[in-house]
Symmetry: D2
Subunit: 444 residues, 4 copies
């Protein structure tokens, strides 16, 4: 399971430029290598007793990839305020450099996912900038949830589902433009998330709005290249606070069915109602051939966009338990896209993204350790206790040595944050990139 973009083709850091000095990385690794070797051997011995070859797991981990969203490397915020960090990227080219740092140190994030219009630039220049660091491009993201400068018609009352045909047309065309840009960049997917909905009962007619949305999406789908996929993303609420057009996986599933085989559902872990069993939704979408991919993050209350695995790491593991199950069963058409989608309000975004990529890898590695034959036996015998212990004993395994060894073997850092801090990257770019104003406070 490698995410949408292939590391084989896009990776290969050996021939790419690196931003963090390899000296720094090597020195950092040198100080940790002996301990890692010992821990890896000791874990290998313990896994061996359970019938698991540690190197096989490490191989799979090495091939696992998750995309970085371009907007994730800037400091996030809330409607109340945004507190900028230092050295924030000024444009998409700075963002690509930040992504290159993440990729270099983790060796787990070979692609960047762009957001139009925020990242609009000459596509060829973009491609060059990325390939310099061995980076490729993941899914394109359109934006009709805010008004761009000089935009003719406003999305205040909706975009693809707007009551006005002209506004819908404008939104459709924006999506078509995203596809065009993506073609040049080598992207193979378009992700559509809209904020359309309502704040008051009666503000919109649910059925009519959804019909209009489907009509708009049919136009976009018709322009999709044959080897592309179309991901639609559901979300319960925010920015709309009474109803949202694509509010849950049920509606998302209907969309994907109505549009066709290239249309698939994207699951953002923070976009569900409280208490919902997300891993079960993942299973359903796999079973009916409609899982497109993920926006990974974590949350405690709503769409908090916290770092993946920071609040409920077992939930992330249970999601991967489904993914690994499908991977091993060779579920038809199963190759979900993986992307982080987080808001880093109080941390250095590069650090958070590095550790979040590792956290996603960790869940994947742990899920690979599940003894699925034994599990199946317990399930068939209704031995609920031993079945759940089978998952737990995989989850409890500290796989950090596997992840670190995978990084070491592919040119990354055993301890990415330590190497990053040692390299002084943030201070360096802070000197180059002028401070950005904070903000928010008016949007309450």
């Amino acid at each position: 399971m490698r995410g949408d973009a292939s590391r084989r083709i896009l990776g290969g850091s050996a021939v790419s430029e690196t931003i963090i000095s390899t000296d720094v990385v090597e020195k950092s690794n040198a100080a940790r290598e002996a301990d890692l070797e010992r821990d890896y051997a000791s874990l290998g011995e313990r896994l061996d007793r359970r019938g698991i070859a540690i190197d096989a797991i490490r191989d799979k981990v090495e091939k696992f990839a998750v995309a970085i969203p371009s907007w994730g490397v800037g400091t996030g915020g809330t409607r109340f305020a945004r507190f900028p960090g230092t050295g924030e990227p000024r444009d998409i080219f700075d963002k690509i450099e930040d992504c290159a740092v993440i990729s270099q140190l983790t060796q787990a994030t070979p692609t960047v996912s762009l957001h139009i219009p925020w990242d609009r630039a000459d596509p060829n220049r973009l491609k060059q900038a990325a390939s310099r660091f061995g980076l490729g491009f993941d899914a394109m993201n359109s934006n009709t949830f805010s008004d761009a400068k000089d935009q003719k018609l406003s999305y205040k009352f909706g975009s693809l589902s707007h009551a006005d045909a002209g506004t819908r047309r404008q939104a459709v065309e924006h999506n078509l433009e995203c596809i065009e840009i993506g073609k040049t960049l080598g992207s193979k997917a378009l992700t559509v998330w809209i904020g359309d909905g309502s704040n008051f009962p009666g503000q919109v007619n649910f059925a009519k709005a959804f019909e209009r949305y489907l009509d708009s999406m049919r136009e976009i789908y018709a322009s999709l290249p044959d080897d592309w996929r179309l991901f639609t993303e559901h979300k319960m609420y925010e920015p709309a606070f009474y109803s949202t057009v694509v509010q849950d996986w049920g509606t998302n599933y209907i969309i994907a069915k109505e549009l066709g085989d290239k249309a698939l559902c994207l699951v953002d872990l923070g976009h569900h109602a409280p208490n919902v069993n997300i891993e079960m939704i993942v299973s359903r979408l796999i079973q009916f051939g409609k899982l497109g991919g993920f926006h990974f993050n974590d949350s405690k209350y709503g769409d908090d966009d916290l770092d993946a695995g920071s609040i409920d790491p077992y939930r992330l593991f249970l999601v991967f338990n489904e993914l690994v199950d499908a991977e091993l069963l060779g579920a038809k058409g199963f190759h979900p896209a993986h992307m982080l989608d987080q808001s880093h309000n109080v941390t250095d975004p590069i650090e958070s993204l590095m550790l979040s990529a590792v956290e996603v890898q960790r869940a994947y590695a742990q899920a690979l350790l599940v003894d699925r034959t034994t599990l199946e036996g317990f399930q068939d015998d209704n031995d609920a206790l031993m079945a759940t212990q089978t998952l737990k004993s995989a989850y409890r395994t500290d796989v950090e040595p596997i992840l670190a060894m995978a990084r070491l073997k592919t040119g990354g850092a055993i301890d990415p944050v330590a190497a990053y801090r040692q390299a002084g990257y943030r201070a360096k770019v802070a000197a180059e990139r002028p401070a950005v104003a904070g903000g928010g406070g008016g949007i309450v």
Copy 2:
């Protein structure tokens, strides 16, 4: 909109036996009729100003019907305890009498919905017992969420989705038996709600369990008479506390699509995740031709099974706003079944059911008052404020005179609870029906 069963055929209290003395009802009405006439006239004048003919609304209300679940007339409880009331029904024949009281006084509940095996009895005797009071039978309800006495295989670990083929077969056959009984009774629908699920991550394989469920349901569907409908009911959790096989409307929709045209989704208002927009789910199911009907009740926390409209009456109105919209648009195949499904732990069940039936009627009547042409205009103009005020001004109308007049005209009571208390029904049956032991306390 009249619910699944037709009042025209099944109603007609004039020729049926009544349980509450008509003297009592007439005396109770006589004391209230003058005020009602005045209030009806005054409301009529106000509605007239809004372009609405009050008699037309009353006509529709008179035709509106909601079924009573046989189990609803007994006192409910929780896993901690059940505190019985007095005069509790001893069997289905007592229950039918209680239902007849509700029907007589409200003239809104012409049918009873049976639950097998709880209500198992000679179908012909059942039919006779009901028709004596002009009552008919609504959807049949199967039960594979608890073990019946002398049942061969246990449903502890599931029924229609059980890992064991024999257990699944037993559950399928139980459903087929329910259809058979229903045929005799004149029922035209089977409602399937199961508790299948798991309490621990890993206890069941989501995909396999759902495939087994679908296979079982396909067998049941195959035995469904041509003029029947099959209702499946989703529920987020309880009795299973980690995963539930039919957990939400997304899964329920897939089931209905997989099975065929006679398969439809049943919506219980208390079976959703916190904060979920239920009226939107109702709209989606209508739009895609899969709304089968409702289990009405209200809730604040989980599946609290409180009296309809007792916690959030505006939500009930918003659901009916969707239903009336569909009715007026003549949505294809739209004739949802209405049933109350409540647990009466601290009230006299007959009183709660009477007022709940009235509450559902009330939401229907209020929704009929919505000025839909004006609303559409506001929606097209994105005038959110006036759109929502259009709903609110219908909702704020106190339609009690319409409901009371509908009851008066059809032989019911202007004030059903007052008439019921005056008649001393509960004391009378308490003398005949021995006290039942309380319980619970062991199931914690």
Copy 3:
């Protein structure tokens, strides 16, 4: 019950300047007065039958007041985008004019609540600007949840609870400044809401952070004039997404107890966990002498800041049921402050605030109709059904004629939105106030 500020002193529109031409208002009223008189008389007759004198209710409604937050008259937004309206207020003086419109047409909002630093201006000029329209000032609101321009130390990691003593001092001093400004303006309360908290487990030590918060608050409390009150506001989450220092009423109650008699709890209806029974919290705070007041709004998911009563009007009524109970019992020290606190993203803020003020009045009027003697009897008899029906029959009463008559009698508009639209106020200010840029989109 009149809210903190007294209409008697601050109101009196007769002698104040009006912004909307009185001709427009009179014409609008003239077209509606005959119907209103008839509806008022008819409602009066029905209430009379229930033993209620309609004029007494109207008198109470006339005296009821709710403050307008200065920030509410601008268009709100989310972290994703803000879609500005036309004619948005440029500064606090424009905001005061908008508030004057609301006050003139509803006669229910005699005061404005300021937010520092957003509304910082010469206090005497502010006072003059407000008194010109007969407006007074409600509670002062400090802001340490965002960084003001030229602020020395950042609140990125907290303010009153910050680990750094200097940052806490700065935050304390800001609050002291708010008190100073408020003294000149005639305000009698300071409301403190902070965003302090954490986004990650371990980021802050809960106990130490709370101790630091309490120490800071003790300093602020020490500077509070004798006739002022200090309101602290709890909120479950946002902008902090893992923990919040003042997360619920339990912590808020402890704060108020620790600080002293002038410290009271402020309840924002949207700041609680899903499903929480807010009216019960209100009751507890009244019972233990710690209810300071309200930020009214409505919500479906989180702190959605929707218009009061737009999502769950019965909940608003149930809150007022507690308030009226306390008012009638003469609960010691009971005089809660009332303020709207909403975000108007898709409506004209003036229209939303007018109708929201009316909606709060409506809940108050309905709660006044509850037959409390009868209710007490049902409660003592455990007649749950009739007890809840007693509330419902008050709630179901359409009190619009009372509210409209109260407006008419005090110089407001029978239909505030109609009069406002007829006056063309928005178009007029749009011509004077330049369009403001939208925004958001970077804060995701």
Copy 4:
């Protein structure tokens, strides 16, 4: 931290009778000991590098204790059904034997917590039965949430807060009886959880009901022996579905403050609103000297009473992070009671309780590994990323070798479930204890 009851005194399995043959345990351990020694050594080496002495951790784990609720060893159920297991305990003496098995194999559960009237028996006989296996008694639990046979007045409408003084008196006296029984048994605490509340708005007057509750509790408190503690337990909902008298920690805190120093709050992990930050509540109660103890379990939706740590193990760790913090700081009066409180619907209760006790120990052991000096530094520097990683690196450590070694050293089983199954205990008691009927199904 050892829970309320001291293992030193009550434990000492050497001199107690054992139920599971020591041969079986020794054989089971022998097969696992070599691997355990190796894993313990390897973990020791890794911890040593982090400056942690593994034996010191193991010592603390050995002293950690959690009580078993007598009702937990029977199979639980829901209002829909109860599916009994085999060999279910017939009475409290069977339950004590089951508890002895748990204690023998885990060496972590030296006490039993009784529930009156379910466990009513001659106290001296009870004491003898328990001490035979080296077991002591934890907190006594009263029951006024269900009606006992032959009880004079019903708790249908409340107990300690009932409107009727006689019913309140009966409930108070029941609690006094629990204290009396406990005195003989050597218990040192009374836990009071009531189901009092309401199902309908208006059914009870919140303030009056709470005042009555407080009055009743004052009477109970007055009879508490000097060396006892009184634990009150809050719960959001169920069995009451609109309001609950002791609904949250805010109300619980007020109760404890009103009653006096011996009154403390009990936290059941499943009794909170969705999304609530429970570890923060724990911190607040510790800070203000009012944390009495815990009912451990896990939940996904409501009060699901699932096995501790089975759904969100990180949350359990975060709770223990607070507890260990307080233990290390020597928080005044800090010695919380630990008890499991779970419902085992689909597993063998003995197995679930053994693994749940181990899971609680696990969270304790992991929390002991947190480098608190380093953490404090990160907190003071607002290094959110490294602070949370400090917790995570402790949490990720697989401490199973420490727990297993603690068991081995104290006479328990390295793998308690394996030893238990090998011993064939369930089959043995199934032969002795007749099958119990299932149930539920009427309480819907």
